[in-house]
Structure formats: structure tokens, C-alpha cells
Symmetry: C2
Subunit: 385 residues, 2 copies
């Protein structure tokens, strides 16, 4: 139901760019129809090197991570800053690197910015894991940087790091993690962080009411387990619950609403098969594991997700928007309460790169960053008549 409608003036600009090979830096815009809104899709800027995480500062500037290890500020005019200083070293390898960025809920008072990344073994071993730091953003410097979470064990893999950072209404920080691919069985045991969602306080301490704090041999940061690679997370604006989105293997991308201590089944229960077509598990239902809230077969390769709450798109308020790598699309799950009533595929024909992150801007527009060497920051606005 999407129709790609380039405005004439814009089309000319895009064609010129394609022919000359030059990098266009000013707005390219395309219009598209969706079920409930006409949208304008504008490239705010490009030239970002595999951007991964996006967060908005109170003044409207965007903080963007590049997987290669840089954190940059992008002005509302599209100008990209030099790298912000003070960011930790990252293991930039395959899916690893500098990953998500989030602002403290009290950022305007405390200036804390949180970053997730692939961290090398501090003891010099070959392994790595997802870690989280925070630092105070002063100008273009990150200061008082401290590691607040370090996934364990360190493991030699370039795959499945998670990782999104979201704050609960009570101020907990959820960090979503991956199973490191070849360590998938670890997702079912509680002595490691593979395939887990963890819940910590912003200083890294463990909340006393975490589900496994009193269980011998279990890591106390764990909130839920049995996940594969959770790269999307958002807090439901009414219930305050965490919703996560994880990549399945071939088939079986999932939306979950992780409850404390919940086992989401991976790898003993899944709707997917391995990339080579082999069976990981022929079970979709295993006692003691929880069914997904919603799933995709075939996979769309889910990245991040948001609940849309802005005034720019009144008909999408309360909907869950799930960005995807594979089809350069955003899946709009039309929700009634928590129930999915309908899925619409948005932006498929007007975004030409894999979508790595989605956020709602302070202006109510929807922003995307794309997973490309020449990655874009894209703004979606309302073009209704």
C-alpha cells in the first residue's frame, strides 16, 4: 500500500546525485502513502559510518554512535560534529563496536549519557562482551566515565551483542543482550549474561527486587532469559512495562514483554530455523517457557522499536513501531492496549538502506539511522493534505 511519490524538484536532485556520485548533504525528500497518513521522508544528513544508536538532546541535537567507535552530535541543520572525546575503546568487529546511546532520565540535571559497546577482555584474553559505561556530557567531552555493566563471560565472537539501553519509569536501566551466537545454549542458564535482559540501577548496582538476587549461582543482574539477540527495547507509555524485540534465526523474530524471571525459550523453543535451514529446535512450545507476544516468519531482521506518542502522526499514537534491517521497513503494530490488531509495513519503498535505529524526536517526527558505510539520519514527517 506504499506508493513512492517523489516530488519533481526532489527527484531532479536525487537523479543528479546518483549520476554525479557526489554526496548530497541537504534535504532529499520523498513522499509516501501509508494506510492512515501521508509521510515525507527527508534525509537530514548522510556520511555517518554504520550508525547504530540515536538519542536526542534537549536542544534537539542528535547523539549518534558509529559502530567503528565514534560518538557524534548531529545538529538540526544536519551538520555532523567531530567525535566526542572520552568514549571508551571498542572491539570493532562484525556486529561489535560502539552500540547504543541513551540519556539519563535526569540528564538536564546530571548530564549522564550511557553507551553500550563491545569491550575487550581487560586481562588481555581473546574474548569480548557487551559492556555499558556512563559519562557526563560537557560540550563535546564525555567526563567522569565509568563502566557500570560488564557482560560475562568474555567470549570470542563477533556476533549477537544485543544491545539497547532503556530506563524504566522507576529509574532502572534495562540492558538487552545477545547469545553470542555460538554460545546459544547459555541463554538457558543463569550463570552468565548471554541471551539475557539485565536490570540495574544507573550506577551499576543491582536492584534488591531483581528476580534472581537470592538464587545461588544466578547472576543477580538478570531480569529475563532465553533470548537470542535483543536489539530493540522500549517502555510501554501506559503500563510502564518493558517491551523487547529480538532477532530470530531464519524466521522467528519476536516481540516479548519480559516479566521478572521469565524464560523466553531460546534456543529450546523457537519459530525459526538456522540460517542453513537446519533445525535448532522443532518445538515452538516448551513447558516453562513463555510464548512471544508477536512474531515474524520469515524474519524481517528487527532492530530497534518505539512506542509512538507524538502529535505529528495522530493515527499512530500508541502504536509499536519496529524497525528492520532486512526489508528497510518499519513494521507498525496497531495496538489496542497490548493486543496487536494489525500490522502495516511502512517506508519499504522510500528507505533504501537497512534501518538500525528508530527514535521519536522532540518534535514528534520519527527518526531513523541506517546501517551503511554512508549511513543516513532520516526524518519522517506528516505530509497529510
Amino acid at each position: 500500500m506504499l506508493h513512492k511519490v517523489f516530488k519533481t524538484s526532489t527527484l531532479a536532485l536525487i537523479c543528479t546525485t546518483a549520476l554525479s556520485g557526489a554526496v548530497a548533504v541537504t534535504a532529499q525528500a520523498a513522499e509516501a502513502e501509508t494506510e492512515r497518513h501521508k509521510v515525507e521522508v527527508t534525509t537530514v544528513t548522510e556520511g555517518l559510518n554504520f550508525p547504530w544508536g540515536l538519542a536526542f538532546l534537549p536542544n534537539g541535537d542528535a547523539l549518534v554512535t558509529e559502530k567503528s567507535g565514534n560518538l557524534r552530535r548531529v545538529g538540526t541543520d544536519g551538520v555532523i560534529s567531530d567525535p566526542i572525546l572520552g568514549v571508551p575503546d571498542v572491539v570493532y568487529k562484525s556486529q561489535g563496536g560502539l552500540l547504543d546511546v541513551a540519556l539519563d532520565p535526569d540528564f538536564e540535571e546530571n548530564e549522564w549519557v550511557y553507551l553500550s559497546y563491545s569491550e575487550a577482555d581487560p586481562d588481555g584474553g581473546p574474548g569480548n562482551s557487551t559492556a555499558v559505561v556512563r559519562g557526563k556530557l560537557v560540550g563535546n567531552n564525555l567526563q567522569e566515565v565509568e563502566v557500570i555493566f560488564r557482560g560475562m563471560p568474555k567470549y570470542e565472537s563477533g556476533a549477537h551483542f544485543g544491545s539497547r539501553l532503556v530506563f524504566s519509569p522507576e529509574g532502572h536501566l534495562f540492558v538487552t543482550l545477545g547469545d553470542r551466537y555460538s554460545a546459544m545454549d547459555d541463554a538457558q542458564t543463569l550463570d552468565n549474561h548471554h541471551g539475557k535482559v539485565v536490570r540495574i540501577w544507573p550506577d551499576g548496582s543491582v536492584p534488591e527486587d531483581n528476580p534472581f538476587v537470592s538464587q545461588d549461582g544466578a547472576l543477580p543482574e538478570i531480569w529475563s532469559y532465553g533470548h537470542r539477540n535483543v536489539q530493540g527495547a522500549a517502555i510501554h507509555p501506559q503500563t510502564g512495562d518493558l517491551w523487547t524485540v529480538e532477532h530470530g534465526p531464519k524466521g522467528g523474530d519476536e516481540v516479548n514483554i519480559p516479566i521478572a524471571g521469565g524464560n523466553y525459550g531460546w534456543p529450546i523453543a523457537t519459530y525459526g530455523v538456522d540460517y542453513d535451514g537446519s533445525i535448532i529446535s522443532d518445538q515452538t512450545h516448551v513447558e516453562g517457557t513463555l510464548q512471544p507476544h508477536y512474531y515474524w516468519v520469515p524474519s524481517i531482521a528487527t532492530s530497534n522499536a518505539i512506542f509512538y506518542t507524538g502529535s505529528e502522526f495522530p493515527e499512530w499514537q500508541g502504536d509499536f513501531l519496529v524497525a528492520a534491517l532486512k526489508a528497510s521497513q518499519v513494521a507498525r503494530l496497531d495496538l489496542e492496549g497490548e493486543r496487536v490488531m494489525h500490522e502495516e509495513t511502512l517506508f519499504k519503498d522510500v528507505v533504501d538502506q537497512r534501518i538500525r535505529d528508530i527514535e521519536q524526536g522532540p518534535d514528534g517526527a520519527i527518526y531513523l539511522v541506517t546501517d551503511d558505510r554512508n549511513g543516513k539520519l532520516i526524518r519522517i514527517t506528516n505530509a497529510d493534505d
Copy 2:
């Protein structure tokens, strides 16, 4: 994800048939992959004239209505009987004719068979409406035929008659109706049967606990209202609740779980637009109306639906299978309780005619009839390795 895989022997048969133009009467079979099962699709018989309703007798024979006015018995060998005698006259016009067929829950004791159809005005006026008769099936004769429901008012239209017949676990008969297209506003008022689901006892009497029995000016048979054209109905095997499926206009086909007295919004709230693209209502949410449980945009043109409970397809048990006219497909809604977790499109490439009815056979296979002058009865069985 469906792959059409003809067996060699079958392919030869089909090609021969296509070349000669002869009507093949014996099994044509094709295999198809789905997400969870491999299926074999067999044409049990063809030559049915716009079959509409399908119900299975205890001995495995199928009763099939033809819209033109005949009720026939189809043996498990595919042999089609002469018309069963005693069926009422019908208004065979556009969407009207002989419509659904259902057996009494106590059929083996009482032999009652129920038929819905488009009935002319008994007073000779130009109007018509959906009516329901029952009669005792003795051999190939329908005896003691009596009208148990007569939609009112009679209305001059060939469109939107509903109508499915299903029995609740308590023995009520639900009759689903349509808005007669040009009378759509009637769906919001209770002084008529347009756009309603009605609940009666099998003899046509009104249950005392129907929601509007005590409301002045309201027809006491009404169970729920604000429907457009409800052509699908099934009882949830665990909850015992009625689930209905209705055609939207262009966009907005709906699954509803009609509660007593519920207003399902049509035509003041809808996710669709009229066939010519004009707006019927720009509202999807109107106070006092209930949201659909699930909906489709664009429309798939829903016909009937079943809850699958058989052993032939273990992975589909508990799922809601919604047949569609437009895409010759069955939408499998993978349910966890009442929640839709996933939608899969089944049979799209192996059924080449619009699907008018879907039923589960006594053998656990899935049966379809197709909306065609040379309509088919199709059996779907398990072809897993």
C-alpha cells in the same frame, strides 16, 4: 513461503486436463510447504455451482449448498447427489441465494438441518432478506421445513446478506447478517436486522437473556450490532465465545469477538474506505464502539473461518483459520489464548479459485469450497515427511 510442488504423476494429469478441456473428476493433488506443515491439496470434486456452505454429516458425507438454490450431498468418493428435495425457494441474485448450512448439535437424534438463504417478500413486495429454515433430513429429503428466522425489513438489494449459522455450547443459534450495502446506516440502530448478529433458539424463539429483550423499539433477537457483512463465524473451543469475521469495504476486514449488546462500529468507525476510494468514515475509534480483535488492510475479502482442533495438523491446533475470496488464501492466525501472535498466508499458490467456505472434516482434514461456476470441494491433508 509457499512452494507449489506438483507430484509428477499428478502434474501429468493436470496438464492433460488443461489441454483437453475435459473435466477431471478424480483426485488432483498438489503439495505445498507452509511454516509448520507440508500439505497436500486434493480436489475431491468439482462441478459445484457456486457452492456457499459446507457441513459434514456423521458418516463423512458433505452437505453443500449451491447459491442458485440447491442443497447437495457429496460422498467421500466425490460423487455429487441430485438436489435434496424440500429446500425453500431463494432469491438468486448477485450475492443472494441459498447460503449456509449447519447441522443441529443433536443431529443424530433429531435430524434437524439449518439453512440460511435470501428470501423474497412473502407479501409480494420487491424486497428480500436473509432468512433461516430448518428441516429434518431424511434420506435426500428435507421434511417438516419451518422458517425460524426472517430478517427485517425486507429490502431491495442483492448485496450483503451475511450469513453464517453456528451453535453456541449452550445451544443458541447465532445467525450473522449483513448491512445490505445501501442500508449501511441501519447497522447502528436496533429496529432492524441489518448489520447485526442475532441469537435465537433453534426453534426461532428468543433467549430471555438476549441483551435488548427489554429495550423498547429494539428487536429482541439482536446479539450485537454495527457490523458490515459477517460471512464468517466460529465458536472458540476453549472459551465458548462467538468469533466472527466480516468483510470491510476497501480495507478493514475484521475479526470480532462479539459480546452481548456490543457495537462494532460500522459505518461510523472503520479501517476501510469505500470501493471508489471515498471516505465512509475517517474515524477508526468512536466512543461507544468496540475495536476489532484483528483487522486486514488491504482487504483479503474474508469468507468463513474455523478454529482448527484436529490431529491432522498438530501445529495448527487452536489456530483461527480465515478463508478469503480475494487472494484464494487462508489466513492462519496463530493464537496464544485469544491473542494473535502471528499471521501466515496458506494455500495461496495452490488454490486457484476464491474460497467461500472452510470447515474441518470428521477426519481432521481441512475442507474448502470455492466460489465458481465450476466450484470445487478441496481437501487439505498432512504431507509431512
